[in-house]
């Protein structure tokens, strides 16, 4: 019996029913999948929106119009019609003398005698101390861009004396200037240096110890109750609030080891830091804080090294140490480095423990070693936001941008290092 193609393709009504039921089920399955896809996509969207809001908020404060009012108008300082821009040094000194206290003049004299100062230097002193421009009002970037007319209106009504300038709070001089009580002169130099110092000490302290502990726990320690309890506790330590580490650092490094952290036993005597509230204390505290993170990350990295690699090494008669040093650690290194840099990124942003350990909120000189007073970027930002004058909020936004850039570049270094070491194999 022959079957025509038509017959072969024809479908009985019962079959057709089954097929359409099957198709309905399939489209239902696809629908469920679509729903979940939308849910996951919106979760991502929430994260992106939050991040964008944060960035916009910061940028909004970091740039914008500022109304600047001079304490003394420069025109009023002209002598015989010569404005201060064209005055010789001697006249500038005279201007300075007639406007600031005798005590301050003596202090300037003590720092650098007038004869040795350049005209430029004296001119800057006049600008800073006599003309003394002060921000009287500031507007956000959004307002500056879209409500310029309202701003000009307000300027005319409320600040007729003031100049309106568009200011970026993040400038090269913002990064290179030390802290100052004048918002226009204030910068983050001391804070950046303080951050770098404390972080370096934290790394030097916790990287070798953390990796060493991870190697021990992963490669040497037997899998018994005690070691499991130790591992569990390290995991818990990683979740302890950072302020607790601050209190620990205060008790341990500042109080108990004050002689060491103040540098007294090394013959370093400075009455300002004799209490042990130094960079060293802060660095060690941050080191303690990131130690569990480094241990956990390094443990994970070492655990991820395939056992076949260890067997290969043991199989040709290598010792345990040779196996660890030549095979396990090189393979785990990218992971260890990534984990460490993530831990460091966390330490850079820490504020609370440093406040407890005794970060100075206002210092204008650079830290010159592990035994000096310090402040760090987050502490500086915190201090600015806590000030009553609104203008420091803009400075804080600038500081946050610098901090974010630092974090970004650290993460970039992490990625580069990891790629470099992974490519070597």
């Amino acid at each position: 019996m022959s079957v025509t193609p038509d017959e072969a393709l024809s479908v009985s009504p019962a079959d057709a029913h089954e097929i359409s039921a099957e198709a309905a089920k399939l489209s239902r399955r696809h629908f469920v999948g679509k729903v979940w896809q939308v849910i996951f996509a919106s979760s991502t969207l929430v994260g992106i929106v939050a991040l964008t809001t944060l960035l916009l908020n910061i940028v909004n404060s970091a740039f914008g119009y500022v109304a600047v009012e001079n304490t003394v108008q420069p025109e009023h300082l002209a002598i015989n019609g010569v404005p201060i821009e064209r005055m010789p040094k001697e006249d500038l000194v005279a201007v300075l003398e007639s406007h600031v206290s005798a005590g301050l003049m003596r202090r300037f004299e003590n720092e650098i005698p007038w004869e040795e100062r350049t005209r430029e230097d004296v001119y800057n002193l006049v600008l800073e101390r006599v003309v003394d421009p002060k921000p009287v009002a500031q507007w956000s970037l959004y307002e500056s861009l879209f409500t310029v007319d309202a701003i000009r209106q307000e300027m005319v009504e409320r600040y007729p004396e003031a100049d309106l300038i568009f200011k970026s709070w993040v400038t090269p001089s913002f990064i290179t200037s030390p802290q100052s009580s004048n918002a226009f002169n204030a910068g983050v130099r001391t804070a950046i240096l303080g951050s770098l110092w404390t972080i370096s000490i934290a790394i030097i302290f916790s990287f070798p110890i953390g990796v060493g502990a991870a190697i021990y726990l992963q490669e040497y320690a037997k899998d018994n109750l005690i070691n499991r309890i130790i591992t569990l506790n390290i995991n818990n330590l990683a979740g302890v609030p950072s302020i607790i580490y601050g209190i620990l650092g205060l008790a341990l490094f500042v109080r108990l080891l004050g002689q060491v952290t103040s540098g007294a036993i090394f013959g370093y005597t400075d009455p300002m830091t004799a209490n042990g509230r130094t960079i060293l204390s802060a660095g060690l505290t941050l080191g303690l804080l990131i130690l569990p993170l480094i241990i956990i990350n390094a443990q994970e990295a070492i655990k991820a090294v395939p056992n076949s690699l260890r067997q290969a090494s043991y199989g040709i008669g290598a010792t345990r140490w040779q196996t660890i040093w030549h095979h396990v650690l090189p393979s785990a290194l990218p992971g260890i480095l990534t984990g460490t840099i993530l831990a460091i990124s966390r330490a850079i942003g820490e504020t609370a423990p440093l406040v407890v350990v005794g970060a100075s909120t206002f210092i204008t000189f650079d830290p010159d070693g592990p035994f000096s007073k310090f402040t760090t970027l987050p502490v500086q930002i915190y201090q600015w936001t806590a000030r009553p004058q609104d203008v420091f909020r803009n400075l804080a936004a600038g500081g946050i941008i610098v901090l974010l850039l630092m974090l970004l570049s650290m993460n970039a270094i992490a990625v580069l290092l990891r790629n470099r070491y992974s490519r070597r194999i």
């Binding site: 395939p306 690699l309 067997q311 043991y314 040709i316 040779q322 030549h326 194999i425």
Partner: protein, 265 residues
């Protein structure tokens, strides 16, 4: 320290297991094994999954000791010394009794370094490394394929090449015995054949013990065959051990015949 120097013995047997019992914790994985491995011969160990053939193999170079709950009783005599004696260092054992694993596991280093590392770090070889690298790669029948790419990563090679690289790495430290734990099971048929040919070449210089799942491989490539099976209590035991030709044509035990003819396992 007991001497494991291969020159110190030239008896007929390279390795001899006496009353060997192997345990994982309380579980006895292999029981009461007595067997001798003839020098410069290939001995295949076959048996169903879980019968403890790999455990036995790894007992011969104390590789099992990387598993914390493992322990052994009985003796493994290598060159007149029981390698389980207290004064024998397992590191020294593994240097003389090399091992090739089921999955190719080259070091994540260059081809050259894969071979040279062990020579530099494990043996006291004072000659030129280049020579021993070439010699080992030639022995492993890999030299012609890699002589121009010695500085490339060992992981860039194909599976069969990687396994031959692992063999070269093992040979480079001049072991006396080479243990092979299913060396071809992760490879395609052509690569498997090359490995088998290579093993035939190697028996001139080495004693080879090979665990295999593949009965044809045992029949093709080995001089002696040992058949392990499992007890009711899941402990592996040696059923029969004889010349391969006899094992595959006229085995003594019914169990062996059933396994070899494919009736179980």
């Amino acid at each position: 320290m007991a001497s494991l120097n291969p020159e110190s013995s030239n008896g007929r047997y390279a390795i001899e297991a006496k009353d060997l019992n192997l345990y994982y914790g309380d579980f006895r994985a292999v029981k009461d094994t007595n067997m001798k491995f003839e020098r410069n011969k290939i001995t295949a160990i076959i048996g169903p999954s879980g019968c403890g053939k790999s455990t036995v193999l790894r007992a011969f170079n104390r590789m099992n000791e990387l598993i914390p709950i493992y322990h052994a009783t009985g003796e493994v005599i290598f060159n007149g010394t029981n390698i389980y004696n207290d004064d024998v260092d397992p590191v020294e054992v593994r240097r003389h009794i090399g091992m090739v694993f089921q999955k190719p596991n080259p070091f994540p280093k260059s081809i050259y370094e894969n071979v040279a590392w062990g020579v530099r770090k494990v043996t006291n070889y004072k000659g030129k490394l280049d020579d021993i690298v070439e010699q080992s790669l030639r022995q492993a029948a890999l030299w012609d394929e890699v002589k121009d790419i010695l500085d490339q990563s060992g992981l860039a090679l194909s599976g069969g090449q990687q396994q031959r690289l692992c063999i070269a790495r093992t040979l480079a430290v001049k072991p006396n015995v080479v243990l092979m734990d299913e060396p071809a099971s992760a490879l395609d048929p052509i690569a498997t054949l090359r490995i088998e040919e290579l093993i035939q070449e190697l028996k001139k210089d080495y004693t080879i013990i090979i665990v295999t799942h593949n009965m044809q491989q045992a029949a093709r490539a080995s001089d002696y065959t040992a058949f392990f099976n499992m007890d009711e209590d899941r402990a592996g035991f040696l059923v029969e051990y004889d010349r391969t030709t006899k094992m595959f044509t006229n085995p003594e035990k019914r169990l062996t015949e059933d396994y070899i003819s494919g009736r179980f396992g």
